[in-house]
Symmetry: C2
Subunit: 209 residues, 2 copies
């Protein structure tokens, strides 16, 4: 298909597509003449992924390039390694060593992980991300809200099981990883929306006569 059709199919304007091509977020089409290129289904899927990463995930262009490179890496990784390599950079966790306060919070995260028997790599960005959230609660004077963390962990197990079971039914490997990236990012928004509806219902149950 020509770029105009690619635009119609995906709803992404032509100038935006050209911007993605310049930034290396979308592979070049196949040249059919010196001034014309042809695009295929692979470009449609890639465009959708880039939109999810930019608009829903609000990731910086450099991170998106890294994620796309990992998706396209066709080394002989198993699915677990492949998901890890692709999803770790999504967390946007910095490389610098944590300060003493953050390190203490990370030790609490380690205790939680041990309590739940979770197998998580020492360098998993989720550890640091969770520790940062803990510190935010405390800085905001509502550290007691962290008392509920085991209920949150229970809910996370239910969702993770469902998310990962869903993955196995997919097909082509880059499609699987693309689905995992989109599911990770948009799944956060899904969870947040449902939590608000459940809050309202629970508030009716607990706080109305």
């Amino acid at each position: 298909m020509r770029v105009a059709e690619l635009s119609r199919t995906t709803g992404v304007p032509v100038p935006t597509i050209k911007y993605y091509l310049r930034e290396g977020l979308l592979p070049a089409g196949e040249l059919t003449s010196p001034n014309q290129a042809s695009y295929d289904e692979r470009h449609v899927r890639r465009l959708r992924l880039v939109r999810a990463l930019l608009e829903v995930g609000r990731l910086p262009i450099a991170t998106i390039r890294e994620v796309l490179r990992d998706i396209d890496d066709d080394s002989d990784w198993g699915m677990h390694e492949r998901l890890g390599r692709t999803l770790y950079p999504l967390a946007g966790v910095p490389d610098d060593p944590p300060g003493p306060e953050l390190a203490a919070a990370m030790a609490e995260v380690d205790a939680l992980i041990a309590r739940w028997g979770w197998q998580v790599e020492p360098h998993s960005p989720g550890r640091r991300r969770l520790a940062e959230v803990m510190l935010t609660f405390r800085e905001l004077g509502v550290g007691h809200l962290m008392n509920a963390i085991d209920r949150y962990a229970e809910a996370a197990e239910i969702i993770a099981e469902s998310d990962l079971r869903g993955i196995t039914t997919d097909r082509a490997p880059d499609d699987v990883v693309t689905g995992a990236v989109i599911g990770t990012i948009v799944g956060d928004a899904l969870q947040a929306a449902l939590r608000r509806l459940a809050h309202e219902h629970t508030s009716v149950r607990l706080f109305t006569p």
Copy 2:
């Protein structure tokens, strides 16, 4: 306390505090001389809340003003009404009527709400927010990920019950509502971080020999 001590206590720089005062996000201190004002614990709590809304919730200033006005409204509302009035604007859902595609997705949300027996107001912003997430999944070509929505709803019930039970142990009404606002916003980040850790663990279980 003087503004310098308010800054030291909360970690918010003095020029930022003055900006919040000008924008009406922080009530004026009590004047102790024509050029000096005194601040108290109420200002400390309010500053923490404003930081959570701005930095974690990334809410626009106008929305924050609306949320603060609702928190300060000491009309004789019950807790359920008070939480609803304060938390509804947080969703940032527009007032304009939904188009046909969004309206269809909202009907699917209604079906989910009925299936779970949730009591949710017809004008609850959570309905529209969830419908928008559904459309995003479809536009991104991964509508099948919505098959897992009932597992997400199950997890949301567990978390909502825990969140709302936590609320009842709090004290002063504006403190309760402040805690609910912070918990709603920072709780999303908590859930997202734990989901990633649980993903990693589940991936080890399902995808490694």
